[in-house]
């Protein structure tokens, strides 16, 4: 029995012994160092690029411009709108213009300073509202990237029927993923002439596709391997170093390494989308939420990345995990000349949860009801219709997550002078939104008489290798020593899709289950479950030409309606409730997060220790989002000014698991990666209100903002 067991992560021993080689530490004989020269202007035409001084430096091998690209100078996860190297125009500070290649890192970094670029500035746009109103266009298609609406019922009627209305505006800012390992990788040409890239990434097959287009080479001439990766959180979904390394290898025929400094990482990587959320809630006296009207304005930065997806996902999740009969949501994403916003754990939903959870608490306050009771009353359950009118027929354990928290909520007692308690809830669609997002894998046998598990799933620290292996072992009823895992290599695996959208345990887990069922049938037919040894079966299989057992799963979803977004955007949803206890120092505005009770409906916990690990990490990130993390364009350069929580900022955490099994998932499992983070910031904000009577409408609610709120409240009393 492997499911639900606390088995150790399969990589744990090697990692504590320091054995795995992270992308940042990879080396190849004779490698060149590559560095990117980036735009210093937010919006400008490039008039002239002078690389002569750089080329004359001893040790500089090549400077690559956009003109050297053999294939398409375009990439993008959703649409191919981003340039590998800018040609005539730059749209943000940090946009790549050149690749400099040299014999050492030192000489290449020195050469960066001898590049001269002449620009002709264009008016730069720094916020979505100016973008909306400006006649300056960042792209020919206009400054509005995406406009999505969710329409259910009749919101006007809904508000007319409501007894109370709560209306507020919420704001969030840019956040950096702050992964431990910055973007890095190596590349080389192998003996067959194939271009091999080994990098820190969340998706190998997507990157192979992009490189194929970039170099105008067939995909089978390119191999992408995932090196041991030090964190992703969405920041290694887009092309980071891979395209540049591939291009450099292609043009120089030499091995190439690229490693971003922390400063380069901050400058170049995508950020969490800043969202501006106008939120109106109508409720009846009995506490039932009757109508919700939301207007979301987002900043995608200079290019799309995942901007369209976040725009839609945020709209769909805007009501939170509550059944609301009348819903009207508008969501717009604008281009600006800021850093590109992209995928980051939660895909817009941590921002949205901050808004809907604040609203629920304000409704409860107005109706003089217990906030938990209001949530219980309106919470989604089996038989509920979501905001997209999706009927929840299966796994929907939201109320159970609330019930786990209820005794602690009822027993809560303020210890300190300014102690507060807050609730935060969420639901989250697992997998990509309203589109096919399949995963595929295959199993076969090795010469050594073992089962070969070929997986394209990127292990980025979240524990997918272990969870998938547990599913395989359980289904086949074999031991860990019987299996060899071959993972994250386009040459030895099928496309499993990205490690994103909390999808790998659910989607790829099901694909593994599918493959395992087929292999189990084969093992059975060869007598493995009677008395034949695995080695014996392998010999038989060899004689039959090594059969391959493919597994596949694509979650059953349907595209949502383009006007109303009604439909089935996700096959299943995760649910969670967090209760947070904090202490506020009124003199300084410092908020200490003391204790979190976190309750999650994960469908089925494949590995309890891993589930807990995800939740601890999610809470840490939630503390950062709520209280300190803030990327300020052109100002934030490193961890010197970008504060993320330390272990000293971490609260005690108690975890409760709800297992409302999802029939389409492997052994009932859903996803957890992002849900772990989503409700945390919201619960802190609600706790602050409980502690000192002020509500934060802008995140992060750092010491300065909180003190200002406390001071303004003081002034109110004086008046």
């Amino acid at each position: 029995m492997f499911i639900g067991r606390d088995i150790d992560r399969i990589d744990v021993l090697d990692k504590v012994l320091g054995k795995p080689i992270f992308a940042y530490d990879l080396k190849v004989e004779g490698m060149l160092f590559g560095c990117i020269y980036r735009s210093k202007r937010p919006h400008a035409l490039i008039k002239k690029i002078d690389i002569q001084d750089a080329l004359s430096l001893n040790g500089i091998v090549k400077v690559i411009t956009h003109a050297d690209i053999p294939g398409e100078n375009a990439f993008g996860a959703i649409k191919k709108d981003q340039f590998y190297l800018a040609g005539d125009k730059v749209r943000y500070i940090g946009e790549p213009i050149l690749i400099i290649l040299g014999e050492s890192e030192k000489i290449v970094r020195k050469a960066l300073n001898s590049i001269k670029v002449e620009y002709e500035d264009i008016e730069a746009i720094y916020d979505p509202f100016s973008s909306r109103d400006s006649t300056t266009l960042i792209h020919d298609t206009g400054n509005l990237l995406s406009y999505r609406t969710v329409i259910k019922g009749d919101f006007e009627q809904g508000f007319n029927e409501s007894d109370v209305v709560v209306e507020h505006t919420y704001k969030t800012t840019w956040l950096d993923h702050a992964f431990m390992e910055t973007e890095s990788g190596i590349g080389y040409m192998d003996e067959t002439g194939k271009i091999v890239i080994c990098s820190s990434t969340q998706n190998v097959h997507y990157k192979r596709k992009e490189i194929s287009k970039l170099l105008a080479l067939p995909e089978d001439r390119i191999r992408v391997i995932q090196a041991t990766t030090g964190g992703g959180f969405g920041g290694k979904l887009d092309m980071t170093v891979e395209g540049y390394i591939a291009l450099s290898v292609y043009l120089t025929k030499r091995p190439v390494v690229m490693r971003f400094t922390r400063e380069e990482s901050f400058l170049s990587n995508t950020k969490r989308h800043p969202l501006y959320i106008e939120y109106k809630t109508g409720a009846k006296k009995d506490g039932s939420i009757n109508a919700v009207k939301v207007n979301i304005i987002g900043d995608t930065g200079a290019y799309i990345s995942y901007g369209e997806t976040v725009c839609l996902r945020a709209a769909i999740h805007a009501t939170g995990p509550y059944e609301v009969p009348h819903v009207f949501v508008e969501s717009r994403m604008f281009y600006t000349n800021n850093h590109i916003s992209g995928a980051m754990r939660g895909f817009g939903i941590p921002q949205v949860a901050f808004a809907h959870e604040s609203q629920i608490d304000e409704v409860a306050l107005l109706l003089n009801m217990d906030p938990l009771e209001v949530r219980m009353k309106n919470g989604l359950r089996r038989g509920s219709l979501t905001a997209t009118s999706q009927l929840l027929t299966n796994s929907a354990g939201f109320l159970e997550t609330l019930k786990k928290i209820e005794p602690f909520w009822k027993a809560r007692k303020k210890q300190g002078l300014h102690t507060g308690f807050g609730l935060g809830c969420m639901y989250y669609g697992i997998g990509n939104t309203g589109v096919s997002n399949p995963s595929s894998c295959y199993l076969t046998f090795t010469d050594e008489g073992k089962i070969a598990f070929h997986s394209g799933v990127c292990e980025i620290g979240q524990g997918s290798d272990t969870a998938l292996l547990q599913i395989l072992l359980e289904t086949l009823n074999v031991e860990e020593r019987d299996v060899v895992l071959l993972r994250g290599d386009t040459d030895t695996s099928n496309d499993a899709g990205s490690s994103s959208a909390s999808r790998q345990t659910y989607v790829s887990g099901r694909a593994v289950y599918d493959a395992a069922l087929k292999m189990r049938k084969y093992l059975k037919s060869k007598g493995y479950y009677d008395c034949e040894t695995l080695r014996g079966v392998c010999l038989l299989a060899k004689e039959e030409g090594l059969p391959v057992f493919e597994g596949f799963f694509d979650p059953p979803t349907s595209p949502v309606d383009s006007k109303t977004s009604q439909g089935i955007p996700y096959a299943t949803y995760a649910f969670a409730t967090h209760m947070t206890e904090i202490d506020v120092d009124k003199a300084t505005g410092f908020c200490k997060v003391k204790k979190v009770h976190a309750s999650h409906d994960v469908g089925k916990a494949i590995n309890l220790k891993n589930v807990k690990g995800q939740i601890y990490g999610g809470i840490a990130m939630g503390v950062g989002l709520a209280l300190m993390e803030e990327f300020v364009p052109s100002k934030t350069e490193s961890f010197d000014s970008y504060y993320i929580p330390t272990s000293m900022d971490m609260p005690d955490v108690e975890i409760f698991i709800v297992e409302d099994e999802e029939p389409t998932g492997p052994f009932g499992a859903k996803g957890l990666g992002e849900p772990a983070l989503i409700p945390q910031a919201a619960s802190i904000v609600n706790a602050i209100k409980d502690a000192v009577g002020v509500r934060a409408f802008e995140l992060p609610c750092h010491i300065e903002r909180l003190k200002a709120l406390i001071e303004s409240e003081k002034d109110k009393w004086v008046e």
Partner: protein, 280 residues
């Protein structure tokens, strides 16, 4: 990337002084938790002289007047020293809050003073204790009050051929004083002080007898509000006096620094902190 440099390790004070005088473009390394970071950003020197292995510049010792601290004593050692806990509680607290365990193990009190950041945690406690510094050079030694030593943010009166060797605190133990250090940071650890206050206060029968305050991160250099300290001397410990004196301090800060955007936060916080400190 770190620029290239030559490094020397001095084993004695004399050796260190010879290097400092003899070598050109030379900088003393005393822990390096600030220096190396700046050098990674481009600050360059031809020579670094590591003084961490000079035995006499390390540790705490008593003399007739009080006690002295070697300039290369680490923050960690100071924060864990029972003697410092007893005799300079605010310094002990401050040293325990600096940076992270790694920084406290590497960073030194001398380095912290030479760096002379407005947010340096060791400075307010040392100001409260009227610390005096010994600066040595080939030509001899001189003593200077810490208050005069720091002449501008990140700038001291130290000459290029000088080495900071000792920090002197003249009297042992503020008996019957309540002493402390409080700092405000954006997170619980590994943070630079947004604001800091060190204090040592002696009260007697409802009167302020001796009030020593030092405020960091508010003015270009951490400072002692001496006018108010004088005003409080002999005054009654009552709410009106406390509020009045804090108001005077805030006005003095504004006079020194002018109005700054950060004061929207700092002034109300400092007001609450100082009032709470004086109330005790």
């Amino acid at each position: 990337m770190l620029p290239e440099f030559l490094s020397r390790t001095a084993k004695t004070k004399e050796e260190a002084l010879s290097y400092i005088t003899g070598l050109e473009d030379v900088k003393v390394l005393a822990g390096g938790t600030d220096l190396i970071v700046r050098m990674r950003k481009g600050e360059a020197y031809k020579h670094l002289v590591d003084v961490m292995e000079v035995p006499e510049m390390k540790g705490i010792s008593c003399d007739e007047e009080g006690f002295k601290i070697g300039a290369t004593t680490t923050h960690n050692r100071l924060s864990n020293s029972q003697f410092i806990k007893m005799n300079a509680r605010s310094l002990s607290l401050a040293c325990g809050l600096i940076g992270s365990p790694q920084i406290r193990n590497m960073g030194t009190i001398g380095g912290n003073l030479i760096n002379a950041s407005p947010a340096a945690d060791t400075i307010p406690p040392l100001l409260v204790h009227d610390a005096v510094l010994t600066l040595e050079s080939k030509g001899g030694e001189r003593k200077e009050e810490l208050e005069d030593f720091i002449i501008a943010p990140y700038k001291t009166s130290m000459k290029s051929d000088e080495l900071l060797t000792f920090i002197h605190i003249k009297r042992k133990r503020f008996k019957d004083y309540r002493e402390g250090y409080k700092r405000v940071t954006k997170r619980a650890a590994l943070a630079i002080s947004r604001l800091s206050v060190a204090w040592a206060i002696h009260e007697y029968e409802g009167l302020f007898h001796d009030v020593r305050l030092a405020i960091g991160s508010c003015t270009p250099m951490p400072f002692r509000p001496r006018i108010v300290e004088e005003f409080l001397k002999g005054n009654k410990k009552e709410e009106q006096i406390i509020i009045e004196s804090v108001k005077m301090i805030l006005e003095e800060i504004k006079r020194i620094t002018g109005d700054r955007p950060s004061f929207i936060y700092k002034i109300p916080v400092l007001k609450d902190l100082l009032e709470n400190i004086l109330r005790g």
